[in-house]
């Protein structure tokens, strides 16, 4: 089921690579003053500020690059957590017998139909301050400032694993019927050994493909939370929070269009890249749409 790296995937992969590099290295080239509030508020794009400035006179391009770091971090880590949960869940459901499998997948169905983001709002609100308190009590300084980010990543990972679980389960159901699994069973290998040594390695391809498709939904969910003021907190920014700011800046009196346009472009290029990469890879390993 694994093939060579498909040609159609190389362009999106290249574009994404460039995006990641720009976001990582880009901010180093900016003078320090660009990050601080300045007198030039709402300046339209010009040669000094390629993407204009925001409400506080900060350079939008710099904020976009720094926001990109956060967005990608949230997207990748959140999707990775969803991958861990979803793979474990799907693997156990798919490899176990009738009633447990039924119950587990019924649970996934139910979770699909409840508004999960709503619970995440409650969850973030409940645990953010607790984590902050705990962090400062134990002297984990790094955690105090970024506790919101940690909670955000955790909670987004917790809600995005359902699709992964379904796909892994489906794949496990077909894999477990393969002769080599039967052979392993005959050789007397235990349940967990078979899971770990025979099923899991064969799931790696499909899981990685769906990782690229899970990152966009995590990033979009983060944008949703940012809009409601429960996502990344100022002075940190993400593409989602910049977009939310930009959406607020469009009004009849004064429309700072660049505040909406450039974050949209950044988000679009990245997510389009991820989608086309994921779709190209999916086609190459011959998986149907779910």
């Amino acid at each position: 089921m694994t093939g060579t790296f498909p040609k159609s995937a190389s362009f999106p992969a290249l574009a994404l690579g460039i995006m990641v590099l720009t976001v990582l290295i880009g901010p180093l080239f900016f003078p320090e003053a660009d990050a601080l509030p300045g007198s030039e508020t709402y300046a339209p794009p010009s040669f000094t500020h390629f993407c204009g400035t925001d409400l506080n006179g900060r350079d939008l391009l710099l904020r976009l690059l720094e926001g990109g770091r956060i967005s990608l971090l949230v997207g990748i880590c959140g999707a990775a957590i969803s991958l861990l949960i979803g793979t474990a869940y799907g693997l156990i459901a798919g490899s176990s017998t009738g009633s447990l499998d039924n119950a587990m997948m019924r649970f996934v169905d139910i979770l699909y139909s409840v508004p999960r983001l709503i619970f995440i709002l409650i969850f973030i609100n409940a645990f953010n301050e607790r984590l902050q308190l705990a962090a400062s009590r134990h002297g984990w300084d790094w955690l105090v400032g970024s506790s919101r980010l940690v909670i955000l990543i955790l909670s987004l990972g917790i809600i995005e694993w359902l699709t992964m679980a379904r796909i892994v389960r489906g794949q496990t159901l077909t894999l477990r019927e393969r002769p080599y699994v039967a052979a392993a069973r005959v050789l007397g290998e235990g349940y967990w050994t078979i899971l770990w040594r025979h099923l899991l390695p064969n799931l790696a391809g499909i899981v990685l493909v769906y990782l690229t498709l899970a990152i966009p939904s995590v990033i979009i969910d983060e944008a949703f939370l940012s809009f409601l003021g429960l996502g990344v907190q100022a002075p940190q920014s993400s593409w989602g929070s910049l977009l939310a700011e930009g959406a607020g800046a469009i009004n009849p009196i004064h429309s700072a269009w660049w505040l909406l346009l450039f974050p949209s472009l950044a988000l679009l290029t990245t997510l389009l890249g991820l989608y086309s990469l994921g779709n190209a890879l999916r086609r190459s390993i011959g998986v149907k749409n779910h």
Binding site: R106, D109, I110, Y112, S113, V114, P115, R116, L117, I118, F119, L121, I122, F123, N125, A126, F127, E129, R130, L133, P216, I220, A223, F224, F227, L228, G240, L243, A244, G246, A247, G248, I250, N251, P252, S255, L260, S264, L267, L268, L271, L272, Y275, K288, N289
Partner: protein
């Protein structure tokens, strides 16, 4: 095997199209009642879990519902806690709350003093639900149309454009489209009001904003499944009979291709309810979404609980309906 089943259905029913959902034969209603009952029976269990999680999560956040800048005298706070039934050990509070819920009492809001949650929901829920229903309809109609349009023209520029458009709509959060629609239709053209609630014109922009991403998802789902269906044997048979391309797609293939779309309706409804929180904020609509966000920030546990409970009941019932219609449409599931 799929072809045979579909063929039988087709002789009996002539008017298939987007209305395929409503093509149910009377005999179909007799199926598998015990399965439906079993699913209905899971409703209280799910609700119980939802209520419990909400009840304890809101209490996990530090601070109480009556915290404010000024410290309230202890005696008054005690009285307040007693009035809102927030005193005593937490398990007693919890069982008391469950008991009240059983009697249909969602209790008082701790923020909007002297208003009961039942009252607030009775005012705001119809707003959110009508917005959601219109958006649901819009996204289904637009999504099915666009998906079928694209799938009927494989390899053409039109297909490429339609698919690119849907990808664009999926990759941007809906709160990007809201302000743009307002800017264009309300401010530049002056056709529609900027926000508010009450007239059909005020409903249009928010419903479109809410529907855009999900219409795109439906279009892509239908496009993919229709392309897949069109490669199947029964479609070749239909073509061999000399049917027009239109009849092949809309009368034969669409029925089968609709199934993935129908199974997406459940998650779609959940997404619409969540998404309406944002849209209500953008368009200043007095729906339940705004109260929901505020209830979290104000630690208004009973209001929060009320909204969550009502949302979950609605969604579970809706899912049951979807499940039923899925079974009615697909004989293969019905007979197995």
């Amino acid at each position: 095997m799929g072809g045979k089943v579909i063929g039988q259905n087709n002789r009996r029913t002539q008017f298939v199209g987007i209305s395929a959902l409503f093509l149910l034969q009377p005999s179909a209603f007799s199926l598998q009642p015990e399965r439906m009952i079993r699913r209905l029976a899971s409703l209280p269990v799910v609700l119980f879990c939802v209520i419990t999680i909400t009840f304890f999560l809101i209490r996990l956040s530090p601070g109480g519902p009556f915290d404010s800048e000024r410290k309230i005298p202890e005696a008054i706070e005690k009285q307040l806690l007693a009035k809102y039934k927030l005193d005593g050990p937490i398990l007693t509070q919890y069982s008391g709350y469950l008991n009240d819920l059983l009697h249909g009492d969602l209790r008082l809001s701790t923020k909007y003093r002297n208003r009961s949650v039942n009252e607030i929901l009775a005012q705001t829920l119809p707003v959110t639900l009508s917005l959601g229903a219109v958006a649901l309809l819009l996204s289904i109609v637009a999504g099915l149309w666009l998906g079928a349009f694209a799938a009927a023209r494989p390899g053409s520029l039109a297909e490429f454009l339609a698919l690119s458009l849907t990808l664009l709509a999926i990759c941007l959060p809906s709160f990007v489209f809201g302000p743009l629609l307002i800017l264009f239709f309300s401010i530049k053209l002056g056709w529609l009001p900027i926000g508010g609630w009450g007239t059909p014109q005020q409903l249009l922009l928010p419903a479109v904003t809410l529907a855009i991403p999900y219409a795109a998802v439906i279009a892509r789902l239908l496009h993919d499944s229709l392309r897949e269906t069109l490669a199947e044997d029964f479609v070749r048979t239909a073509r061999a009979k000399g049917l027009s391309e239109h009849a092949v797609i809309y009368r034969h293939a669409l029925r089968v291709a609709l199934l993935p779309v129908i199974s997406y309706l459940g998650p779609l409804a959940a997404n619409l309810l969540t998404g309406s929180i944002v849209v209500e904020t953008i368009f200043h609509i007095p729906g339940a979404g705004g109260f929901f966000v505020n209830s979290i920030l104000n630690r208004d546990g009973f209001l929060l609980g009320g909204v969550v409970i009502v949302y979950c009941v609605l969604l579970i019932l809706f899912n049951l309906l979807v499940d039923l219609s899925y079974r009615l449409l697909d004989r293969r599931i019905r007979e197995s």
